[in-house]
């Protein structure tokens, strides 16, 4: 049967995550201006155990993956601050694909250490510096070389690349996207300067050059036969869409509250239909995309891989349009004040644009 209410456990998760997200929100402006997220704040978020809850006890976690629950949590985090959320979640980019698709050996080698320790900037190199980046036809190539592999190509917007103990690097091998474990200091990997982007200023991101990167046989995620990529992509898209919904909800709530305070011609701005209708449309579209993404998440939980891939794709592309529309309107509703950096809506609008460009910076 259909149901649209979170269960009590999920309600609790939402509540706890929201409380932490308020701290992210409080730190967001300063972090965006300085380019620096306070490390203790990220470490505090690590104590929520979001990643640990998604991994079984066999590998140092204490739970079972529920994509629906994670989607609820990610919405809350991004409602607080997208940069903060992505920083906190960076280790998931490495650990979750490993938990889902790694070989027994790989899981034992990495997961207990990551899950049992403090937050560490494990990460993944996924996006590429091209206009038509396609996760299913990557420009970065992997070829078999002897027992191992050789990687060649370029990656962009890799969070924490400079400090990561290890990362997953995605590349095309025999017309399939595959992930490879690359450790810090690997020969052939050149990490560029920290990138400057339109938004996400508080999240350190780097470009990578991969020049004849030689890896041994054990580096391929899942072992010699590799792994299925499509379910990982669906999970990335679902996670990313959940973040977009949270970002949009933040912009909606802020502009709604502003419109209820601000006076114009003897009434509140929100009492004008032109503004009220915008808010109604915003709220409707956020809810529409949220439900679409919940369905994708639910399908992933049910093991309906094909349905999930399609739903996650729809949710993700719909979210990108929705997040841009909503964050743009939030600035519009604040008028001149929206353009001033004292209000958060301009930051959300910059981050909102990135939702179409940086899809897959999350894993759920």
């Amino acid at each position: 049967m259909y149901s649209f209410s979170p269960n009590p456990e999920q309600e609790k998760l939402i509540e706890v995550t929201r409380r932490y997200a308020q701290e992210l929100r409080a730190a967001a402006h300063a972090a965006d201006e300085s380019g620096d997220l306070p490390r203790p704040l990220i470490e505090k978020g690590w104590d929520l155990g979001l990643l640990q809850t998604s991994v079984s006890e066999d590998y140092g976690g204490f739970g079972e993956r529920s994509v629906v629950s994670s989607a609820l949590a990610l919405e809350e985090l991004a409602w607080g601050d997208l940069s903060g959320a992505l920083a906190l979640l960076a280790p998931s980019l490495f650990a979750l694909p490993m938990a889902l698709a790694g070989s027994e050996e790989q899981k034992q080698a990495y997961l207990p250490g990551i899950l049992g320790g403090a937050w560490q900037p494990f990460t993944a190199a996924f996006l590429e510096p091209v206009y038509d980046f396609d996760p299913l036809a990557m420009s970065a190539k992997a070829i078999k070389k002897g027992d191992g592999y050789m990687l060649q190509g370029a990656k962009t917007c890799v969070p924490f690349a400079a400090d990561a103990p290890a990362m997953l690097v995605y590349a095309e091998l025999d017309a399939q996207t595959q992930a490879f474990i690359v450790k810090a200091g690997q020969a052939g990997v050149t990490i560029g300067e920290r990138q400057k982007t339109l938004g996400l200023n508080a999240l350190p991101m780097y470009e990578l050059q991969l020049d004849q990167v030689e890896l041994d046989a054990g580096a391929r995620l899942g072992g010699p036969d590799g792994h299925a990529f499509v379910p990982l992509l669906a999970a990335m898209r679902t996670g990313w869409a959940a973040l977009g919904v949270g970002l949009a909800r933040a912009a909606f709530e802020y502009s709604r509250d502003y419109a209820k305070e601000r006076e114009v011609f003897g009434s509140k701005v929100a009492q004008k239909q032109s503004i009220a209708f915008m808010l109604a449309e915003i709220a409707t579209e956020i809810e529409a995309i949220r439900l679409l993404n919940w369905e994708a998440a639910w399908q992933l939980d049910q093991g309906l891989a094909e349905d999930a891939a399609n739903s996650a794709y729809l949710a993700n592309s719909g979210m990108a349009d929705m997040a841009m529309m909503v964050t743009d309107r939030a600035v519009q509703i604040l008028g001149g004040h929206g353009y001033i950096r004292e209000h958060p809506v301009e930051l959300w609008m910059r981050n909102g644009r990135g939702m179409a460009n940086l899809s897959s910076l999350a894993m759920i």
């Binding site: 259909y2 399908q299 719909g318």
Partner: protein, 414 residues
């Protein structure tokens, strides 16, 4: 627990209604559209018999007589939404000719007392098919129903209400009053000085000499469904035909109107479901014709790699699915007795827009083929538009949703 699993009941309902849609609706769709005013009796008789034999799981009618005896989670409105979506995928105009259900019965179900449900609902569930309709709109009062002029005056000596006035845009009014022995729910004011708070709804049965069908409209679409004007002159109905608990209504407070408005929280998502059936029909047909024309649309690629047509199709698919989920959530809330004024309005405004955009795009994408009456796309384009208008225009539903979101009264946000 958040779940998107279809129950077996829903799947059965979809299977059955799809058979009806494919065999009894699509084959006569074009004919019924072109012969405006012809009544699709084959469909009506079939549906009447079919629903009578189905017992509890009827396509459209509401559950039982309002006594809550059902065990386990309720899903009658979810079942209705699924059947309405499928029947409207077959033909939205013919769907509006489905006997037994209708807005009148929905009003009785939502606002009536147990006795009223027991009295009026069986009227549309007898041996012969019968219809129920709802009459709200007047020449000078549409969405602003505080401007309703139709009067109800209590004749205390006879314990009767006397109704006078004119109503327009009554869906299935002719079938309810002339073609079958059904009833119409009339909105009228018991005291014009009270504005909205004075509005009550009254059941007027077929055969009442005080009510007459004055005119049948000719429309852009949904032509198989009659839309009429009604004239009430000294139309007398028993006191107990005023819907709702008389004690609560007598105090002339706002409760009376609230009861009437609750009908909309139930029916708006159902209108959305109908809209989305049309939208799905159009999307499936445009895809079929494109494939036939040699274009196999791809999906799952980055937007930068897609053609314009492929992007349009993906947008249509996304709009359709997300709108359907909004609708499902709104009916699920109805089933669970949750207040859903906001969700009902949101589902309706979204679906109304989605169906007009999808059908307009579908006609556009096929060029001259889309414009041709050889296919049904041009018909669906015309049928679609009503969904952005009846049961509150898209703008009225924005207003309602905005009031809910902002916590504003009707006075604060006009």
């Amino acid at each position: 627990m958040i779940s998107f699993g279809k129950s077996e009941k829903v799947q059965q309902m979809q299977y059955v209604t799809q058979t009806v849609a494919e065999n009894m609706m699509r084959p006569v769709s074009r004919h019924m559209d072109e012969q405006e005013g012809e009544i699709p009796w084959d469909y009506i008789n079939f549906m009447h018999q079919a629903q009578a034999s189905m017992g509890e799981t009827r396509f459209l009618a509401t559950e039982g007589d309002g006594e809550d005896e059902q065990k386990g989670p309720r899903e009658s409105y979810q079942l209705m939404a699924h059947s309405i979506e499928m029947l409207s995928w077959g033909d939205a105009a013919i769907y509006l000719c489905t006997p037994r259900g209708g807005l009148g019965a929905a009003a009785v179900q939502a606002a009536g007392t147990r006795e009223q449900k027991k009295k009026f609902l069986p009227m549309v569930m007898g041996k012969a098919p019968a219809f129920s309709a709802m009459a709200i709109t007047e020449a000078g009062a549409g969405s602003d129903n505080s401007a309703i002029q139709c009067r109800a005056v209590l004749d205390e000596a006879n314990h009767e209400w006397v109704l006078n006035g004119e109503k327009i845009f009554v869906t299935a009014g002719h079938k309810a009053l002339v073609d079958t022995a059904g009833f119409v729910v009339i909105w009228a004011t018991i005291d014009p000085s009270l504005g909205r708070a004075g509005i009550r709804s009254f059941v007027v049965e077929a055969g009442n000499p005080g009510i007459k069908v004055a005119k049948k409209e000719k429309k852009l679409g949904i032509r198989a469904s009659d839309t009429v004007s009604l004239v009430l002159s000294d139309c007398r109905v028993p006191y107990a035909n005023m819907l709702g608990d008389p004690k609560a209504l007598e105090d002339k407070g706002r409760e009376g109107f609230k009861g009437a408005m609750q009908t909309f929280n139930v029916t708006r998502p159902l209108v959305a479901a109908s809209a989305l059936g049309v939208a799905r029909a159009a999307l499936e047909e445009v895809k079929r014709l494109l494939v036939e024309g040699g274009l196999a649309p791809r999906s799952g690629l980055p937007r930068q790699k897609l053609t314009n047509v492929e992007r349009e199709l993906i947008d249509m698919e996304r709009m359709l699915r997300s709108s359907w989920l909004l609708t499902l959530k709104a009916v699920w809330m109805s089933d669970n007795g949750m207040p859903n004024a906001q969700e009902a309005a949101m589902s309706k405004l979204h679906a109304g827009e989605v169906v007009t955009r999808i059908t307009q795009k579908a006609v556009e994408l096929l060029g001259p083929l889309g414009y041709s009456r050889v296919f049904l796309l041009e018909k669906w384009f015309r049928d679609a538009k009503i969904n952005d208008i009846f049961e509150g225009t898209g703008q009225i539903n924005r207003l309602i949703a905005a009031r809910q979101l902002l916590g504003y009264s009707g006075k604060e946000l006009r």
